[in-house]
């Protein structure tokens, strides 16, 4: 059974349609990404999942629970990190976790959680004295403190520096490793590519595609590009003779081969047969960014 079911979700604020028609299912134990530009309807979708807003149409279930009518039960099994949410300035890290732990029937072990999230040294620090990365780690800890079966993380790494972002990604993978299903909302293609098992691409309140990041990227086109500096002369004809190769161009000593299928294998086999070493070898494949452009007809707004 799917952990999260969203079926034809529709939500409007007055005349403005925030979510037009969104459907997806999240399977147990996966990291599922909801990816799209700002204003695509991601946060509204999350708020409907968390029972903060009542959908105008469609059906939403989390672990079989209706978020609107079964809020009490849902709160105990769903951990949520909302975008734009905070804590009192003078509340200390340990106090925040002890406080939130007291709300749940089966709280996690607070010292162990502090340790896992690298916050043990900051246990006595006031919220406002924490760095952005530390505040986000505390946010994950608060989402996890009720021992949830599902966590929703909304724009977790927005505003973090690259180092803190990578550290946060590792934490998300750790969360999944404990068997918790993760719904990750993001507008960073790179983040979705790195973390998600499957991704729903959302644009203007509609789901454009649901698939693995690799499959989505592949839909953007089969074209791959290989660049290298051969250690010995190699003619264009030799490369074009390979069925996978569609074009060969040269930039000085740099050879650029474009093609489809198992291009990398075909070219490297040829080079191996000719005992040529490929210097500065680079392989470029279509990314989620390319997929987004191909599938929606416009660039994702960063």
């Amino acid at each position: 059974m799917a952990v999260i079911e969203v079926e034809r979700l529709h939500k409007r604020y007055g005349d403005e349609v925030a979510v037009d028609d969104v459907s997806f299912e999240v399977e147990p134990g996966e990291i599922f990404g909801v990816l799209g530009p700002n204003g695509a309807g991601k946060t509204t979708t999350v708020e409907c999942l968390a029972g903060l807003r009542t959908p105008d149409g469609g059906r939403v279930r989390v672990l079989g629970l209706d978020p609107t009518r079964e809020r009490d039960a849902l709160r105990q099994v769903l951990g949520v990190q909302l975008q734009h949410s905070g804590l009192p300035d003078r509340l200390r890290v340990r106090e925040a976790l002890d406080l939130y732990a007291s709300f749940y029937r089966q709280p996690a072990d607070v010292p162990a959680l502090l340790d896992r999230l690298g916050l043990t040294e900051k246990a006595g620090t006031a919220y406002k004295k924490l760095s952005g990365g530390q505040q986000q780690r505390l946010a994950i800890a608060l989402a996890m403190v009720g021992s949830p079966r599902v966590v929703v993380l909304d724009e977790l790494t927005t505003g973090l520096d690259p180092h803190a972002r990578r550290a946060t990604w590792e934490l998300v993978e750790q969360v999944r490793a404990t068997g918790v299903t993760v719904l990750l909302v993001t507008h960073f293609m790179e983040e979705a590519e790195r973390l998600c098992d499957r991704v729903a691409l959302i644009d203007a309140g509609r789901v454009v595609a649901v698939d693995t990041p690799a499959a989505l990227a592949a839909r953007a086109g089969q074209q791959q590009r290989l660049r290298f500096r051969p250690s010995a002369p190699l003619t264009d004809e030799e490369l074009r003779a390979l069925p996978e190769v569609t074009a060969v161009t040269r930039h000085g000593s740099l050879v650029e081969v474009t093609g489809t299928g198992n291009l990398v294998h075909a070219v490297t086999s040829l080079l191996a047969r000719r005992q040529i070493i490929a210097g500065d070898l680079r392989v470029e494949q279509a990314s989620l960014d390319d997929a987004f452009v191909t599938l929606t007809g416009h660039a994702a707004d960063h």
Binding site: R75, V80, L91, S102
Partner: protein
């Protein structure tokens, strides 16, 4: 707004107890906590240590200045807490999206409000008791003529200003806006309670007006001026009107 479903979530007793103790600690960590708790005590001690304020005054109907100021200083505690601390704290929670985070936990935002009001009521009661005790023990201030009525006055007066504080808390978007609305209300009550000038020295007409301000009524009950039923009715009126307005205008985000 049809969007934000009102919190209907049940909270565990442990959750509420922890929330209340955290709220108490957070309030005492505010630098302004010194004002709520220390200023009234210091004012009583300073006024009481002035020899002239310990001799009976004809203008005050034979009472000493310190006799008149004990209920006034005691009134400062609930006024500070209910009209500035409560709305400013709640508005800052709204401003900093503390309520938004709580809204996805099993604790409803109403739980935070309940815990905050509990803590503020308890602190206000403790402050009033401290000021009255200092007056009685250090400066020999006599108990009010009708202790039960005076107690009822303080309880109902506290409820009335808490209700007014909640009206401010209901709407203020930021802590600054909450102070902007709460402080004038507090100053008005300070005046009616005789903090700036003893009420007995005001013109008769102004004294009558003060009796319709919550803590004007409370101090009038303490000193036995005017009809008791009228003062209690004024306080009950403010409590009910404030409570209804707070419920009517409340928003969580």
């Amino acid at each position: 707004m049809t969007t934000t479903a009102l919190p209907s979530v049940r909270m565990t007793r442990k959750g509420f107890t922890t929330l209340t103790s955290v709220q108490a600690r957070l309030l005492l960590r505010e630098p302004a906590a010194l004002a709520w708790l220390a200023v009234p005590v210091v004012v009583v001690l300073v006024l009481g240590s002035i020899p002239g304020f310990r001799t009976p005054q004809a203008a005050l109907g034979g009472q000493r200045v310190i006799d008149v100021y004990v209920p006034t200083c005691a009134a400062m505690v609930p006024l500070f807490l209910a009209l500035t601390a409560l709305p400013a704290t709640f508005a800052s929670y709204r401003e900093k999206a503390v309520l938004r985070r709580l809204s996805v936990s099993p604790v409803p935002a109403a739980g935070v409000l309940g815990a905050l009001v509990t803590v503020i009521a308890a602190m206000a009661a403790a402050g009033v008791v401290a000021v009255v005790a200092i007056g009685a023990l250090v400066f020999d201030v006599k108990a009010p003529a009708h202790p039960a009525a005076a107690l009822a006055g303080f309880v109902l007066g506290g409820a009335a200003v808490l209700a007014l504080g909640l009206v401010v808390a209901a709407r203020a978007r930021t802590a600054g806006a909450a102070s902007g609305l709460g402080v004038p209300l507090m100053v008005l009550n300070f005046f009616a309670a005789g903090l700036y000038v003893p009420v007995a020295e005001l013109p008769q007409s102004l004294q009558r007006v003060c009796e319709f301000v919550p803590f004007g009524a409370v101090t009038a009950i303490w000193s036995g001026h005017g009809p008791l039923w009228q003062h209690l009715l004024v306080l009950a009126g403010w409590t009910v009107a404030g409570g209804l307005a707070a419920v009517r205008f409340f928003r969580w985000e």
